[in-house]
Point group: C2
Chain length 558, copies 2
């Protein structure tokens, strides 16, 4: 039977939604079908369950300091939901719960919210600022419905504010009291979950009834630990980027004349780049953590690329695909040094046009600065973020590397060791991956995270992060529980004080994903082993694929 070709998104198939949240929107056929996609649920959530606590926990580092910072919460056990409990903790008990999205978008956030069950639910608008200002909306089933399995954070939007000062904590207390909140679910990254724990500690210290549960969100994949195997959004974002990389690879092989330099989002850690490499098999992949560990210079990185390009030229391949993590230049010690010096100068000095300010740079940094292409020099001088840091996303590392590779290849051409013609094409894949429709994996994972967060609140827990495990098994077999946020913490000294932090989980060079990559990259460099994952499917082949990072990490643990 031939399929019948019908319209997508046109008059017949699209209805203007009557929904509260996305009033002015219309939905595509795929979006509409996703709303009604039935989400599988871990079997432990389907019948009465009880919560079982584990042993007392410690901290990721400096437990004494963490104990001082969290006197009420430190040492809390992690919790696990187990079936067939007799004391089924009040899934019929109605709680008042607030929820907030914090930081950058990640596919699946809406499903976490849909998963929080059986309660009066308030959504704080625009991130933590919504808590402080008391800006919220009541999230009824009707309100939530059109956002089921949809990308983005636009149901209640997000923000990057933090609840930090005593006054801000006071504002949060007032909002919690005014809404008579039994609980608050904070959906965010490492910083936001640290903040969630401080809020939980604060509420507990004042004997307020409001409990706080975190949920692990970030496409960067750098918020994870043994009990929290991945952060949501990572799966979808990597698969969107891998689709594009796979297409570019086929283009490279078909055209036979371009090197595509692809910069991938993921500020601090290179998990996204590593996962995309495992999905697509590029010729060259730079992992920031390796660059840092080996103390490589920009020249080393350039030479590595040029060596591969020359070798490929000998094999007759004058094309290729190169993956570069967004944060690469942050990982290069000499660049870090330069940026630190520039940050100082920009914070305190007038940057004069005749370049006198450059005299404040150390010799090594000045040399590096002058070695960089002009466009990059300009980008390094751009405005800082609110924390005074270079906005790495604005630095076009991929273009910088193309220029540096060009220069080096020209040299080798003159020496006679390179005879081909090099043409670089630059790409940055970032924003298009943060708000895609969540994969089946992220959709189910987020729903379970939200459901779990609700269950933890119902059982009176606070200061935990919702933890869903056994993720390579079918959804029914997933485990659901909560991990003590203090157990993930260490301290950093800032302005003479200890500050609690959840350390970002960086790519581990002795971890299974990196080791697999390292064992294959030489073959990928000289041969063309490109894989094109294709667009994310919601039905049929590959629609329930687990990403490589999870498979390899959980496999190594097992």
């Amino acid at each position: 039977m031939a399929p019948s070709f019908v319209t997508n998104g046109d008059v017949a198939a699209v209805k203007t939604t009557p929904f509260a949240g996305r009033l002015a929107s219309v939905y595509s056929e795929v979006q509409t079908s996703r709303i009604d996609h039935a989400l599988p649920v871990p079997s432990v959530l389907r019948s009465p369950f009880k919560i079982v606590d584990g042993p007392a926990s410690s901290a990721a580092g400096n437990p004494d300091e963490i104990a001082k910072l969290f006197p009420n919460l430190f040492g809390q056990p992690s919790s696990m939901l187990v079936p067939n409990g007799v004391d089924n903790i009040g899934s019929d008990q109605k709680l008042k719960i607030g929820v907030v999205l914090s930081g950058g978008q990640a596919p699946g956030g809406h499903n976490v919210i849909s998963g929080i069950f059986g309660s009066t639910l308030y959504g704080f608008k625009g991130g933590p600022a919504g808590i402080m200002k008391g800006k919220y909306v009541e999230l009824t089933a009707d309100y939530i419905y059109p956002y089921r399995n949809q990308g983005g954070f636009d149901m209640i939007c997000s923000g990057r504010d933090k609840i930090e000062t005593p006054e801000q904590f006071k504002q949060a207390e007032e909002t919690a009291a005014k809404l008579d909140l039994d609980g608050l679910v904070v959906i965010g990254g490492d910083d936001s979950n640290t903040n969630a724990c401080l809020l939980a500690e604060n509420f507990r210290s004042k004997n307020l009834k409001t409990r706080v549960i975190g949920c692990p969100k970030t496409i960067d994949g750098d918020l994870k630990c043994k009990e929290v195997p991945t952060s949501f959004g990572f799966d979808t974002a990597c698969k969107i980027y891998a689709e594009m990389i796979g297409n570019v690879m086929i283009d490279a092989r078909s055209t036979g004349k371009y090197y595509h330099f692809v910069r991938l989002m993921g500020r601090a850690a290179s998990h996204i780049t590593l996962e995309c490499a495992l999905q697509t098999h590029p010729n060259i992949t730079i992992i920031g953590e390796e660059v840092a560990a080996k103390k490589l210079t920009l020249k080393n990185v350039t030479d590595y690329m040029v060596d591969v390009i020359c070798k490929r030229a000998e094999l007759g391949y004058n094309y290729g695909v190169i993956l570069i993590p967004e944060g690469l230049i942050d990982f290069i010690p000499e660049v870090q040094q330069l940026i630190a010096e520039l940050n100082e100068i920009l914070a305190h000095d007038v940057v004069d046009e005749n370049g006198l300010w450059k005299k404040k740079l150390t010799d090594q940094s000045l040399k590096l600065f002058e070695f960089l292409p002009q466009a990059i020099q300009e980008q390094l001088m751009l405005e800082r973020d609110p924390h005074g840091n270079v906005q790495v996303a604005k630095i076009e590392t991929e273009k910088m590397l193309i220029q540096m590779v060009e220069t080096e290849l020209e040299k080798r051409k003159q020496e006679g060791s390179y005879k081909a013609n090099f043409k670089g094409q630059s790409h940055f894949f970032g924003y298009e991956g943060r708000c895609g429709l969540p994969t089946n994996f992220d959709a189910s994972y987020c729903y379970a995270l939200g459901y779990g967060a609700g269950a933890l609140l119902h059982s009176g827990k606070t200061g935990l992060i919702s933890s869903v495990g056994n993720l390579c098994a079918p959804v029914e077999e997933w485990t659901v529980g909560g991990t003590a946020l203090t157990s993930m913490m260490d301290v950093e000294r800032r302005h003479g004080k200890f500050k609690p932090v959840i350390k970002k989980a960086m790519v581990e060079l002795d971890g299974a994903p990196f080791k697999k990559f390292a064992s294959l990259r030489e073959e990928w460099a000289s041969k063309n082993c490109y894989i094109s994952p294709g667009p994310i499917q919601f039905v049929g082949p590959a629609s329930n694929a687990v990403n490589h990072t999870l498979l390899l990490e959980l496999g190594a643990q097992a």
Copy 2:
């Protein structure tokens, strides 16, 4: 039932292919599933058919000149395959057929080749140069199999050479004779099909048996006429870009602080931009043909954008999505003039560093040149393509417009008519759309085009372009035939001689797609009517969607 999560592209699911063509490759699960996807075929091709000729044809313009240029082919009727013919023309007859891919990649090219049936098939490698140099490979069923429904042109690769000089025609004749070719299928855009027709005329004039059939290929969508409703690849490329645009829209709405300027591939015509606009409903869309028709200046375009941005700021929306066709600056008369002058200067003069060459510009062009941001000035001075033209794909129009919008908004801020903060984010979606896995539509369309080309060759036709029609109906009901290439031609005067050309089909301002867009764009500008089409699906909802351009154009015809 919860889905079982299994690996995609990892050890278990991926096999190293034993196939001839993609030896070193491995396939993703989606790629593998696409190889075995059963292609529906128009019912006319399923049972015995005969070919019926229509009335004599003319030309798109200057028929007298076309008649002189194609004395053997001019006036040929178009042909249509009809069922139930008694004189079934030799589908069991074995012919020797060559096939060549010409120009840029478009998803579906491999399926055209798979569609050419029941013959000894030779694939010329690297485009028309393969014909001239006699570089070819025999395309057996085993060789073709792994490329079924796959993106890219890597089965035999493509090239941009033309068969133009008497010597080159001679080389083509020699190759045709050596391989004893009954036919040649040329898969390409407007230029390549013009070339195919010249080759057909040449072979016919010399009484050679080799016949030539063209196939309409280009993601740009600018090779079409009444009988050839679309070129293949347009559907897939637009859907890939629309997926990304839809994601960026959700990101814009979630973040609430960025204007995303998205430049879309499609050099001459703005069909891709228009189709993507119809699929996604951006706030601002620039259509090059409208800019040209209304003789707009860069300032006009900037002001239009700024007006919308200011109006949206009043409504509380400090974000948005703006689509810009790659060829925009080519459409602006004042920029065309500047580029023409620069082309002249670069072709004949030394561009001195102290800028004396600028004196050769007219006043108006100099003023415009100095008005442009420096990065754009530099890009306008970059190396030319082999035809001496600016490489438009290298000009970052989206960044130029961001800078110009910034400047104008700053002015309005000082005047008090704009109070918000503007942040622009630039994107270029190009290469990632040319080599994606073809949509079900393009897969079926290409297979039918190839099948039709084979049928036309079997029936002794030459100088036709394979034409598949009724494309909004189910595949069974599609029509298959051939259109006289000379009927699509006009002449252009170049170097004092008439040259035949198939005129690019530009966006028609009184055509149904543009009119629909124009009737809605004001609403899209001030409201947020974003649609997120999501990733291309091969199974289930939207997997057989017809694009808007086809629906509207065929609907208007009906």
